[in-house]
Amino acid sequence: MGSSTLSIGFFFAFMALTLGITYWAARRTRTTEHFFAAGGQVTPWQNGWALAGDFLSAAALLGIAGIVTSNGFDGMVYSIGWLVGWPIILFLIVEPLRNVGRFTFADVVAYRLRQRPVRLAGAVGTLAVILFYLIAQMVATGSLIKLLFGLPYTWSVVVVGSVMLVYVLFGGMLATTWVQVVKAALLMGGGILLAFLVLTHFDMNPLKLFAAASEKYGTKVLQPGSKVVSGQWDAISLGLGLMFGTAAMPHVLMRAYTVKDAKAARLSILYATGLIGVFHLMVFIIGFGAMVLVGADAVAKAGGGGNMAAPLLALTVGGNAFFGFICAVAFATMLAVVAGLTLSGVATLCHDVWTNVIRNGAASEAEQLKVARVATVLISIFAIMLGIAFEGQNVAFMAGLAFSIACAANFPSLVLSITWRRFTTPAAVASILVGTLSSLVLIYLSPTIQVDILGKQLAAIEHQWWFVSLRNPAIISMPLSFAVAILLSLVTREKNANLAFDEMQRRILLGPVQPTTSEPAEAKSAA
C-alpha cells in the first residue's frame, strides 16, 4: 500500500526529530528539578501547547470523530466534558500547585499534614489513575497501529513502549515537553487542515455540512441520542467524572511545575484551554465531514470501532499523502500521551514513595535520579507487558475509570487541602482511599464489567441487591469521598495542620520564600 509507505516515512521523520530532541535534552538533564520539571524553564506558550499535547490522546481525534460519524451530535458530549475541567484547574488548582508543590499533587495535599501517610495514599490514587489510563492507551495504541500501519499488535506495543522509555529515561521532562509540543502542533495542524478541506466542499459553511448530514441520515444526527451515553443520571455522572477528573489528572497537574512561576502557570492553562477548545470544534466538523463525504457505513466497515473515520476522510479529501500524514500524527499522539503518563508515574514513585516515604526526605540528588530512572524502566516494562496481556480485551472502560478515580480520589483532597483550615491527615488518607476503592467497586458491580466483560445477562443480575446500574461511578464516589473527608476532619484535630494554614495561604500567593528549604521542615517551623 503506497499510503502506508508514506505514513511510515512521516512517522520516521517524527521519530528522528523527537529522538534528536531527546539527545539534546539528555545533556541538559542533570538534577531531579530538570528530570521532573524541565528546570522550570518552559515558557507559558510552550507549556500551553505541551498541556494540549499531553491531554489530547488518539481518542480525542480518532475516537470522537468516529463517535460523531456514527452517532452525530453525541460525540460532542465527550469533547465538552474534556474541556470544562480546564477552567476548574485554572481557578482552583494551578496557582496553589505551582507555589506550594514541587513535582506532584501530593506535595500540596501533604504540605500541612503528616508526610508519610498522605504521600502513600496519594501514590495509591495517582498510580491507580495512571495504571488504568496507561493500559487503555497501550491497548488502543496496539490495535490502532495494527489498523493504520499493518504492524502486528505485539510489535506495536513494544515499539511504542520502547520509544516512550527512551524519551523519558534520557530526556526527562524537557524532552517530553518538546515531544508534546511537536505532537500538538502536528495534531492541530492536521486537524485544522482536515476540517478546512471538509468545509471547502460546503462553501466554508458548517451549517451546510450539518444540513447535508441530516438530509442523508435524518435530523437525528443533529439531536442528542441515547446510544453513546445511556441513562439520565449516568450522563450527569459521566459529566462529573470528565470535569473533575480532568482537573485532577496527575500528568496534567505535573505540568504546572515546568514553568517559572504561578503567573506563567496561569497563562499556560489559558492557552491550553483555547487550543483544546479549537481542536474539539475541528473534530466535530471532521466527524460530520466523514459522515457525509465518506459515509457512516464505509467507516464502520473499515473496522476499529469507528476509529478510521478521520484517516478515511483524509484519504477522501486529501489523497494518499494526507492519509499517511494523519496516520503518522495519530501514532505520534499515542507516543506522546504515554510518555507524559509514564513521567508522572515516575514522579510519584520516586518523589513521593521513595524520597519522602522510604527515605523520609533525606535522599541525595544522585540517588533520586537513579531511582527515577529505575522507576522509568519498571513502568515502561510494566506498560508493555500489560498492553500485550490485554490484547483484544475490551478496555475502553479503563479510560473512564481513570477519570473517575482522579475525580473521586485526587480532586477532593486536593481542593480541601488548599481551601479548608480544618482538613486533617486521617481525612486526606481516607478520602483518597475511599475515592479509589469506591470507584473500583462500583464499576465492578456495574453493567460495564458484569455484562460487557463477564458476559452476564442484564436481566439476570439487574434485580440483585449488589447491582449498580450506573456505568460511571463519579456521582456516588466523589460525594462519598468529600463526605468522608469532611466528617473525619470534623472529628479529628490536627494542631500543626491548622496553624500552618495561614502560612500555606501566604505561600499560595507568594510562592516559596526560600526555595532551598525543604518542605517538611518549613511546615514544622510555621507550626
Binding site: F73, F91, L209, K263, F284, R506, L509, L510
Partner: protein
C-alpha cells in the same frame, strides 16, 4: 521576597493581615468563576440527560439547539478562563507585589 516592610510599626502582623485578605479575595473570585462554569456545564448536561427533545429542537436546516449550545459551552469555558487571567494579571498580581 521579604515580607517584613522596614519602617512599619508592626510589619509582621500587617503582612499577615494583608495576605489573609488577598487570599480571601482570590478564593472568592475563583469560587464564583468555578460555580459559573459548573452551572453552565451541568445546565447543559441536565438538558442532555433529562430534556433531549428540547435540546434537539431544529432551529433551521442544519442547526439544532444542541449544536448552538455545545460550542457555546466550549467558548464560555475559554471566556471564563480569560476573565480570570485578566483579573489575576491586573488585580491579584498587583496585590502580590504590595505584599512583597
Amino acid at each position: 521576597m521579604n515580607l517584613v516592610i522596614p519602617g512599619n510599626a508592626d510589619p509582621a502582623s500587617r503582612g499577615v493581615a494583608l495576605a489573609r485578605k488577598l487570599a480571601k479575595t482570590r478564593l472568592t473570585v475563583a469560587l464564583v468563576l468555578s460555580v459559573a462554569m459548573i452551572v453552565i456545564y451541568f445546565g447543559f448536561m441536565a438538558l442532555f440527560a433529562f430534556d433531549k427533545p428540547l435540546l434537539g429542537t431544529i432551529l433551521m436546516p442544519g442547526l439544532s439547539l444542541c449544536i448552538v449550545l455545545g460550542p457555546l459551552v466550549i467558548i464560555s469555558s475559554f471566556a471564563l478562563c480569560l476573565i480570570y487571567v485578566l483579573w489575576a494579571n491586573r488585580v491579584l498580581d498587583a496585590g502580590i507585589r504590595d505584599l512583597r
